[in-house]
Symmetry: C2
Amino acid sequence: MNVLMGVGKAGLKSEGKPDVLVVLLPQICNASFLFTSNHFKAGSVIYSQQVFEKSRTVRAFVVNSGNANCGVGKEGIMHAEQMAKRVAQHLDIEEGQVLVFSTGIIGKPLPIDNLLKAIDDACSLLEPLDLKRASEVISTTDRFPKYDFVKMGSLEVYGFAKGAGMIHPNMSTMLAFLFTNAQIDSYTLSYLHRQVAERTFNSISVDGCTSTNDSFGIISLGVIKEDLEKVREAIYEVSLSLAKKMVEDGEGATKIIKVVVKNASLELKAKTIAEKIATSNLVKTAIFGRDPNWGRILASAGSTAFPIDQFRLKLYIGNHLVYDGKAHPKANEKAKAYMEENREVEIVLDLMEGKESWTYYTCDLSYDYVRINAEYSS
Amino acid sequence: MNVLMGVGKAGLKSEGKPDVLVVLLPQICNASFLFTSNHFKAGSVIYSQQVFEKSRTVRAFVVNSGNANCGVGKEGIMHAEQMAKRVAQHLDIEEGQVLVFSTGIIGKPLPIDNLLKAIDDACSLLEPLDLKRASEVISTTDRFPKYDFVKMGSLEVYGFAKGAGMIHPNMSTMLAFLFTNAQIDSYTLSYLHRQVAERTFNSISVDGCTSTNDSFGIISLGVIKEDLEKVREAIYEVSLSLAKKMVEDGEGATKIIKVVVKNASLELKAKTIAEKIATSNLVKTAIFGRDPNWGRILASAGSTAFPIDQFRLKLYIGNHLVYDGKAHPKANEKAKAYMEENREVEIVLDLMEGKESWTYYTCDLSYDYVRINAEYSS
């Protein structure tokens, strides 16, 4: 029941590192895939979405990093198809059971001949899936590989991912692939998947930008029967762990920021306000400056369509109550020390009006974010 | 028919510069005021909004800079009322005809006694309105005063404003006051005002953050009768001029970016996509790096709820066609040179599907933006 992988080099990364990953599942598997909501989609996304929606199952997939296969006209869709075909031929499986993912620079045509040769190499030497190595092969600007594993009794969920910039809900320049040995039908898996994605990959942001290539898949290897709630929990744990690693690896990040909006009247309100705070450049630069600037946090919270009651709500930074209708200068000093000492900074906004809550993760906005994104050349 | 002004010092600016401005109109005037949509509103905004909505006319207003009168509990509303009362007493006018505006740091109670004394001083020496001086008094972190004047035959429209970008760290944002000698009823003025604001002050962004204190007023002095279309045009011209000055003065800005989305099927679609491009950190850092990174522009354009056809649209930087279903490396080189040479960079996205267009102004995202906003201490 092994998941196998193979690695190849198409010369897409300047350092000549491996940039093509082929993953072969032990049989045709039920799966669920979520793709970017961006209308400027990569050819690989357009292709895989079409193919996957026909069967909602998958036997193998191929990922190239270093080139997004995006903004290159309809050729991009053809290239994705050629890649799938080559994998299918090599592994003697159905072409319609092979998905294709790409990540990297936008606007450069794939050097398709090199790609196909790299796929040949990858397919001819398959070995058991190594999560760390798989993450490394699909990485682009990532500073560390992203993978995790949860075991609850006989239930296993594991996965690998990449992503450091262009991270925003509805995914981003991120790819994540999860596997579970639990047996789940595609319909149920899709339902669990959306639930989990909303609270994990769709609740992180590095720069508020949604990318062209994001894809997040969960594959059921179908070995054991397991309680669905337990499966959901395990999938959630691995997904949250991978999502948080992306934030931690956010371009230029020096702090992880956890924004909790609680006791809201509506879940959507809690989420909308949490997202607004987490994507505010003013909040993010304040935290880079270790400044417990509650004015900016509340100005962000107030700028959605949902009303907030400024005379009733409470705002905490860490455990320090910095605002409850008025400022608390001493708590502010303690909050400043807390921000200096901790890598993860928690902001809790208690709306004092209901029972719904939402948590959003982001990182601070530093000089390095500007440097990385201003120096990067298209 | 002179508009008069008086100036006072309440010690709200560290340099001891004038920080209180009183403006007296020759009589009760029809007017239109737009206030911030933020739910975390300053006490002055809450007060002025209530007062103004009763009569939709105004006789005088007072502005203090250096303190936003925001995040200080209900005391903020009381303080605004006290300020209005003092102006009314001094000038022997109705209290309900006096509006109050504040801009500056959030979360510090107004030193109300100093404020009232400064109002006394301002009211006791009134002189004709000096646009430049008025802008200087209400400025906070602005690097230059913002005012303009249009004369079309006998029609006059003039105004002054403050704003170093949409928002400064706790230096909440923009105030703009326009005057016209044309006679317009409040209802018509309000209609014109919203139309103009949508295409001017509501189509600029420095950092995508909405402030707690924004206010934009137009006052009809009622001297001449004039064609409404001409009045609208003159108001639009002065408003756009002031709005662009704010972007030019945007924190850390090295470039003004003009984003035009044209030939869209819907006006709302054109606006939504223009705004999305103009508020993308990735686009803004690319322009700071003088990089004609059309991939980031199109990824932003694709990330709204409105579909775009990536195989049909055309993207220009300056006059250079950089994308029309595929890349044009030579045009990209010319676009890079264009970006290096010009202070204002124009991005034109032609959706090739309809007749609606929208223009949005923003500035680039530089190290200095991060420095200014990280070093500022609340």
